[in-house]
Subunit: 182 residues, 4 copies
Amino acid sequence: MSPRADAVRNRTKVLAAADEVFAELGTDAPTDEVARRAGVGIGTVFRHFPTKEGLLAAVFQERLRQVGSEAAAMATSEDPAEAFHELFTKLIGNSRTKQALGEALTAAGIDVDDAIAPVRDEVRGAIAILLAKAQEAGGVRGDIGVDEAIALLIGASQASAAVIDISMRARTLNVFLDGLRP
Amino acid sequence: MSPRADAVRNRTKVLAAADEVFAELGTDAPTDEVARRAGVGIGTVFRHFPTKEGLLAAVFQERLRQVGSEAAAMATSEDPAEAFHELFTKLIGNSRTKQALGEALTAAGIDVDDAIAPVRDEVRGAIAILLAKAQEAGGVRGDIGVDEAIALLIGASQASAAVIDISMRARTLNVFLDGLRP
Amino acid sequence: MSPRADAVRNRTKVLAAADEVFAELGTDAPTDEVARRAGVGIGTVFRHFPTKEGLLAAVFQERLRQVGSEAAAMATSEDPAEAFHELFTKLIGNSRTKQALGEALTAAGIDVDDAIAPVRDEVRGAIAILLAKAQEAGGVRGDIGVDEAIALLIGASQASAAVIDISMRARTLNVFLDGLRP
Amino acid sequence: MSPRADAVRNRTKVLAAADEVFAELGTDAPTDEVARRAGVGIGTVFRHFPTKEGLLAAVFQERLRQVGSEAAAMATSEDPAEAFHELFTKLIGNSRTKQALGEALTAAGIDVDDAIAPVRDEVRGAIAILLAKAQEAGGVRGDIGVDEAIALLIGASQASAAVIDISMRARTLNVFLDGLRP
DNA sequence: TATGAATGAGTCTTCATTCAT
DNA sequence: CATGAATGAAGACTCATTCAT
């Protein structure tokens, strides 16, 4: 019962290190580097994630899940329109989550759809609810659905990569927000 | 007839093949594949582009240049506002150029700024002119500059990767276009 | 009931699983597979057999011992000549024991002589007795000794690997049996 | 036209080194060792034989081919019965070719039938002819076919592995030869 | 100049073995 | 004693780059 505790902790350390490494060095960073940063042996990485592709998928799922739970949390907000806008704000602003969604869905090499499948529905669901509420509240145009929202989130997150300073960020964001208005 | 002619033709073939290969297989496609599709030996590829990084840079420059000249051509349009919108339409629509700009600027591995430098100003200039005219004509909001426009172009091109069908494409595009209105 | 009882049972389970695994997957099957089939943890396998080489040696000894006791049992037969022939028949026929002897002595990687030493004499003794009786009874040519008999047993067991159907098996076997006649 | 010459020479060197290495260290000897002995870089080995399995197959084919051409050469002998016996003598005697056939067909890991297919028929054909002539000449029993002959060749080559001195070799061989008589 | 064979550093992955629980 | 997670050395294979022809 207790050896499992260590194993779980290691899995977490590896996942965190992988997220960091892939964000910093790109998805073709060597797996050794992940092990090094996690402070474990290379064998441990492969014990928890038998393929590099699997490790990448896990990292992306985790990132997606974060976006999903953020969306879910926001869906309970009393001002869903404002909350929906905030989702974009966060994606374009948070340098950690930044390329998260975009990279997660765009990432070359792994068959995105299959790898992401488990979380995909979860995230889509959360965004769908938030979007519906925001539209109902009159804060977001009614002619877009979840798929368009997701595409736009990807666009926003990628656009943010090119954004340099804060005022520029604000101006870029406004285009998205104004475009989303009814 | 001059020996140079062949060399130039080869350089062109290689560049075209590389553009195709990197678009299809991703930027870490093997250089051999480029040679194969260009119908030349590996040696020839490396003669013209001594590093893979250099080859990638050349491909990206070429892609950027295409966007630049499209922008330049549009700047002479009698309806610059419409032309500016059309730039986005093309980026989100043309599956060939699609990820071009985005990938060109985002591409991991090569130091973007340095590699792109030669064309950067050219493209920026062309877009700046088109944007200014479009704003002057009252077709585009006045609070954004070239940098924001470029960031948005990147966002649009990346968003398009997630777009599946045509009607979805239109709805996604509308958000960008409406957001750009004054 | 004694703690030793469990240990002995485990040793047996491991040995049986190893015999099965190495027969099926070859001698470079992973030790994990042995543990899995034995229904024990890897640690247990290594507790009983500190090296893979040791485990292999144990398996081979066991197989040899089986051949040895078969030979010993047959030596008491009232028709030793017939019994000696039967030894070949079994080796070429029994798909379980089939490559046993051959593999046991041929097996790459472990130093055969040293690993097998403990049982070697035992087996040689049993075969020697059976052979002597068979020769005495006039059923086997007199110009071969134990070493030749063993070499021929190996040959027969390996030849059987190439044998496909039953009638072919019989025809191949006859060559050995006729060759052994005085 | 000339660069090919070097390539062919290298292919040959690699194949020779591989035959040597696999004979000496077994089929799971590291590929690096083959490269080292061939005096080439590891990349060269893989350029000529893209998989280790492929390299092994090539080695085995080569070995088989040698047996095949030996059989073919013998088929033209004026005394085919004697020639057939000589085939066994060579297999049990030549320490270089020794385990050749046996290992070639037995080798764990690679799917023997498929890898060997190209040469299989060639070798079978050569042996079939020699066998038929030997039988016709009354030197070999009539109730065996090619398949049995091959199985016996395998048996003989493996038996030879256990043979220590020359007189023992002769005695073992006699069993095969006498067994093959009509 | 073009060619493509050669090179070897770098990557992923496996597996025997150890050791904390 | 048993367990199975951790370890890291070793092996197969890839690919950017060089260079003899």
